[in-house]
Symmetry: C2
Subunit: 195 residues, 2 copies
Amino acid sequence: MAKKVQSHVDPFYYHYPAGATIVTSHAGGCDNAMAVAWHSAVSREPPLYVISISPERFTHGMLLESGEFTVNFMPADQAELVALVGGSSGSDVDKFDAFSIDAEPGSQVAAPILATAFAGYECRVVGRHTYGDHDLFIGAIMAVQWEESAYTDGRWLDVERLSPIVYLGKDLYGGATPPALIDGDELVRETLGGG
Amino acid sequence: MAKKVQSHVDPFYYHYPAGATIVTSHAGGCDNAMAVAWHSAVSREPPLYVISISPERFTHGMLLESGEFTVNFMPADQAELVALVGGSSGSDVDKFDAFSIDAEPGSQVAAPILATAFAGYECRVVGRHTYGDHDLFIGAIMAVQWEESAYTDGRWLDVERLSPIVYLGKDLYGGATPPALIDGDELVRETLGGG
């Protein structure tokens, strides 16, 4: 493909899709929820997860205060909830009340896990680094919650039963098509003709 | 949903889907490519991107040596290439040669951008942090390349024209369904009844 090239693009959205998440926090007796598309796994052992949060967000102060958060992975039928959470601030409104969010405190952290999430990570902050206009918060995953029926072998999300939100930037929320199984190791053996 | 709860799950794959990327590096006169599913945007201004790379990966040493990388965002029809790249190591094989990868050096970095990527970020490493069994490499995005025809208004990936890879863990590669447009701000106004 002949590509357009540009230096210092702002805003930059070319890296989507990403899974859409709702990050929750709990501090000062209150819960808050925030839509986060900038997130990633970091380490397998110990399991660590990172989220990138602007200091302008209400969640930022709650993370500093509590040192805890949860990351909730949402199904496609919850896209409106993600958009509602993303379109409002905890400084103006109690989102759990205003949007009738069903949630319970985590098993290891006080921040809540959403009832409609297909999986949630309960995290304790173990590192924070300021980069540009955001802070990276690295969380140790203290516990995982997941909807067993949504997974094959308890591990692989069964997209035909539960399609996850695929966020494409702006206000665009899609789902995932049923995936193909492609065995990379086998494919490498076939391609390189090795043993 | 009534969720299963578990502490310290290993391996943990509950957070997928993620966009599948191919990260390239260039050092000592050689190119390498690696499949990376642990990546995220970090900051909008300046634009920064993070990838999480195990020190066991061949790419890790190349990043330390060169201080540069590119992140290539791949269409669903390139899932086999991602699997091939993911199933092999640069310590054993020249992947660009073995898998006939069409690529050119970036405009700002020596690491190459893949011809079949719908977008690529050219990054210079501005930070590295070891967490658990991986290193976070934070890259300043020096340039963006994208296939203009794949985007609406030059910005929003047109999934009906070019479906991105949606990685679901293990060897599972899907695509994205055409997204719905959900205006969060408008939805909040409707829900809260505000002005």
